[in-house]
Symmetry: none
Subunit: 193 residues, 4 copies
Amino acid sequence: MTPPNAARRSERAHRAILEAAYALAVDRGAAKVTIEAIAARAGVGKQTIYRWWPSKGALLLDVLIDAVGAVSEMPDTGDVTADLKAQMTAVTRLFQSDFARFYTGLIAEAQGDEAVARGLAEQLLDRADGPRRARLAKAQRDGELRADVDVAAAAEALYAPIYYRLLLRTAPLGVDQVHALLDVVLDGLRPRE
Amino acid sequence: MTPPNAARRSERAHRAILEAAYALAVDRGAAKVTIEAIAARAGVGKQTIYRWWPSKGALLLDVLIDAVGAVSEMPDTGDVTADLKAQMTAVTRLFQSDFARFYTGLIAEAQGDEAVARGLAEQLLDRADGPRRARLAKAQRDGELRADVDVAAAAEALYAPIYYRLLLRTAPLGVDQVHALLDVVLDGLRPRE
Amino acid sequence: MTPPNAARRSERAHRAILEAAYALAVDRGAAKVTIEAIAARAGVGKQTIYRWWPSKGALLLDVLIDAVGAVSEMPDTGDVTADLKAQMTAVTRLFQSDFARFYTGLIAEAQGDEAVARGLAEQLLDRADGPRRARLAKAQRDGELRADVDVAAAAEALYAPIYYRLLLRTAPLGVDQVHALLDVVLDGLRPRE
Amino acid sequence: MTPPNAARRSERAHRAILEAAYALAVDRGAAKVTIEAIAARAGVGKQTIYRWWPSKGALLLDVLIDAVGAVSEMPDTGDVTADLKAQMTAVTRLFQSDFARFYTGLIAEAQGDEAVARGLAEQLLDRADGPRRARLAKAQRDGELRADVDVAAAAEALYAPIYYRLLLRTAPLGVDQVHALLDVVLDGLRPRE
DNA sequence: ATTTAATCGAGACGGTACGTCATGTCTTATG
DNA sequence: CATAAGACATGACGTACCGTCTCGATTAAAT
């Protein structure tokens, strides 16, 4: 009935829930995490979870955003190929870790929960995409790339294949993929002759 | 104990199950389909489902493979850009239909069920990928693309972004994406004069 | 830690609680009244209730005692049969009203809460029983009843059946029961000529 | 949706539930028995209980009826006073045992659950009342009681006080009460010489 | 043609988790 | 400093499905 009053929120419970959810999602995959297990591990009542998050997905999304963050940083050494290689490799490494179970599980959750899908897109993916486009745009200004290149499409062509393998598992993730993508996509975008 | 004897299988029940699963998956999304609902709609005992499929995912995968198929065909008019545009557009159209709910739901299922992931990759995605690579390889032989291009990576760079938007919803699916991808990826792969 | 200081008690809150509890108990039965509902209706914090009453039963008991009282009065016209008929009829009427839901609910509460049971017996039932016995004893002195009659047992034999029907609902409450009881019990207690 | 099919009922589960419910109700009182505890003790899923009984009260009523039964038997030695004394004493003894917790708890339950109230009245109390009235009627025919006595009212006047003390605890149950009641009620019903 | 054994529809079973409700205690800010 | 408001841990509620397990009642193959 009444919306919860954030000022009175117990910081202790809040943190315990995020930590419990993180631990459980990493070690058994987001799909197999239950609200009851989170509550039990956090030493918290289920209601305390339901009071602050509308669904398991929303909670896990918060946890994920908390936990990722750093990977969206984009280096800028002046060499766009090197910078993208570094960043794409970092993403690949993250997706090779146990953490991947968490991420893929949450994406699965998003397929049936529009709110999670929106949160994921806006708070995580778009946020990560910005710096990538910006780096590409700078490379254009620097003359590393042709001026007419659609920077957003280029970013998608480079990163989507990594997510594709993460989710669809047609081939293992690895640095070779990163190299191949840079060769195929980025190389074609350089100024001709 | 005894493995099921395919010869005695009831064709009526088999078809009813596939149809019920299809209908339910399309209209409420694969995640919200339950075995009980399929059994009830098909007028079949639950055991009859469990006798022939190990899991909901395996059943839905069968249904999906049944239902897709056609989209993996690849035209060959001699103009690789036109051919890819046609095929990528067909894929996009499929992903814009109600059918998408089914597909994304099954991919979600695959995140927690290794057997489904494998089936999806091998029986659907790899099968669809073959003709794409083949078409690109032919274009190489025809001199439409440079000889040193990694054809598999190119196929991934072109198609993965469509799946990316299907699953991650950072932007709506549409033909503009297809055009942008062809411009960014394929154009860069042409022979340098 | 500190015992509540009755002097500082808010009279406003006190009254609001009793009124809210009464209204709720009458209209949905004592069993379905919750402390939260009482607090909400009274515009009072839950703690304020818990501070002054140990349990829902204790609160309802207070409310009930407040509300009854009057029915324990016993007329004395000199005709013991007429007096008992009047009083038993009044009790029956009370038990036929909406108020019965409250009373039966509290008796139910007492079955699992010794303190309520004790309070009910001592503060309500015994208090009501006193005048009844006294009236019967006077009738003895007046020669309306035999001298050897056990007045307490007689009071029980007359009133318990009314409670029996109230609680066990083997037959509807009504004035016929009162008449039948007076015929069967009281009539047998007159002096034998 | 579909009503359960009694023919397929598991006798094992049925018995285990009744036994578990009995044990729990006797040792902690009907009010403190939970469906979850019954299910756990019986080694049964909760749904199996809900499939066959609409409420905790309905289940406990079944258990109680199972367990009582015998006490409704009425001896007939030709001496109505002796017979009633024996039977009333048996009832009193039952109500003095641990079993009372069960009985009073169920009566409490009935105050908030009309179905239980009806079941209790019809399947237990009325059934027990029949033989009592019959015995009194026979005594009338034998000339032990006056012909004009309302036998139903007499039965109520004798037994209701026992229930009254059981439920309202104004005084302890005991054989003295039985004697007093027989003196006060039955004695008055004898033929006047 | 009869037997016989597996499949079928149905659905009860022991479970797990759900999301909700009320309990009684604890915390914070308000008057 | 008692209050109202309400967050908290706890625990039971009744429901939905899970995957397994009987039940007769069809089948369809091997006698």
